[in-house]
């Protein structure tokens, strides 16, 4: 288990718990379908891997970005893996070439639309 996600999840959950008691360890664990003790292990960065569906459920539960939580777990969404597997060399090249590119260059590549002030 990547230690980053445990700390991140715990901090986020506790922040939510301050405003809403439904974000206790027990209730969150039950809502995503794991044992409270297991979520506790995750939060303490002990060896407690979460499957992709559980990570996504946890992200939804905490109102976090799914890709961010997946990345913190050292994983890539399965649908993205499928895309890469279809053309592995091409996507490996593409990602390597973008590694040091500034955000602006990446956004231009995907024709990202900037939202302004209105």
């Amino acid at each position: 288990m990547n230690p980053v996600i445990g700390t991140y999840v715990r901090r986020k959950r506790l922040a939510l718990l301050e405003k809403d008691r439904r974000f206790s360890l027990r209730q969150v664990a039950m809502r995503i379908g794991i044992e409270p003790s297991y979520l506790s292990k995750v939060e303490r960065n002990e060896k407690a891997p979460l499957s992709e569906p559980k990570i996504l459920a946890l992200a939804d539960e905490l109102g976090e970005d799914r890709d961010v939580l997946m990345a913190l777990s050292g994983k890539v969404r399965s649908d993205l893996q499928e895309i890469i597997i279809k053309r592995p060399q091409l996507f490996a090249q593409l990602l390597s070439s973008l590694e040091s590119a500034p955000d602006k260059a990446v956004l231009k590549l995907i024709k990202s639309v900037r939202d302004g002030k209105w």
């Binding site: 992200a59 939804d60 109102g63 976090e64 970005d65 799914r66 890709d67 961010v68 969404r77 649908d79 993205l80 231009k108 995907i110 024709k111 990202s112 639309v113 900037r114 939202d115 302004g116 002030k117 209105w118």
Partner: protein
């Protein structure tokens, strides 16, 4: 995340669902007569090309840069509609639902009231699950006044007729995906496909706005999911500038299709 793909504006919410994606295209249509009668949805003429504002920033008015978004060319008196499509999710066959607010000159095309992105307690949005058209400004009795492009500054657009300046022109779109939890509950339920609507030269700049034109009949449905279903925090929005087609070549160095 909003981006352009194959001439369409794509609102994509991978953090909500890997396939939560709504595509928008802007279609020039046959203009219906303004004779008091209600007509069926007008025939499509062609899809309007879309360009990123940031790709042509050096030639555009400063206000356009500030608004960001995209732009497309329209002729004076062109009728147009917005085509929205949420494609079916692979493993369910059900299109991911979105709530969509649309406005012209920051006046809601659905309610005729000032643009408001923060609330869902008014009927100023449509629920899109599948394909959906916004043909014009919503009126009473399910009738819609067709969107007709007019130069901003001539007093013809709905915003100029409705309120004092400053005027915004263009089209504004805000898209809200269904909350993941609500989507799970919807699961395999085949959602209804409500058909709400909306809508809208001696001149001073490239800015165009939308005016109400002839009347189109459409069915208007209520939100079948309820306002709590929509994820206000994960919205994406876009300002769509309407550019005078006569100035399009100067703006981007290309001829409108």
């Amino acid at each position: 995340m909003v981006f352009l793909e194959d001439g369409k504006l794509v609102f994509f919410f991978p953090s909500v669902h890997p396939q939560a994606r709504l595509e928008a295209s802007f279609v020039r249509a046959i203009k219906v007569p303004q004779d008091g009668r209600a007509y069926a949805q007008p025939v499509q003429k062609d899809c309007l090309p879309i360009a990123l504002v940031d790709d042509h920033a050096q030639r555009l008015p400063p206000a356009w840069i500030e608004h960001g978004g995209v732009m497309l060319p329209v002729e004076r008196s062109d009728a147009l509609y917005i085509c929205l499509e949420s494609v079916p999710i692979f493993d369910t066959g059900v299109a991911y639902p979105f709530a969509v607010k649309a406005g012209a000159g920051k006046i809601s095309a659905f309610s005729g009231e000032p643009w408001d992105e923060s609330r869902f307690d008014k009927p100023d949005y449509a629920v899109v699950t599948g394909r959906f058209w916004i043909d014009g400004f919503c009126g009473e009795d399910g009738k819609v006044s067709q969107f007709v492009a007019q130069p901003l500054g001539m007093g013809h657009t709905l915003e100029e007729k409705s309120r004092p300046g400053p005027y915004w022109g263009g089209i504004q779109i805000a898209v809200y995906p269904m909350r993941p939890q609500a989507w799970k509950e919807l699961a395999m339920f085949s959602a209804p496909r409500p058909h709400i609507v909306a809508e809208q030269q001696a001149h001073f700049g490239p800015d165009m706005g939308l005016a109400p034109g002839g009347t189109i009949s459409q069915n208007i449905a209520q939100d079948p999911f309820g306002s709590q279903a929509w994820d206000c925090l994960t919205k994406a929005r876009c300002f769509v500038h309407l550019a005078d087609a006569a100035q399009w070549e100067r703006l981007i160095g290309a001829t409108p299709c």
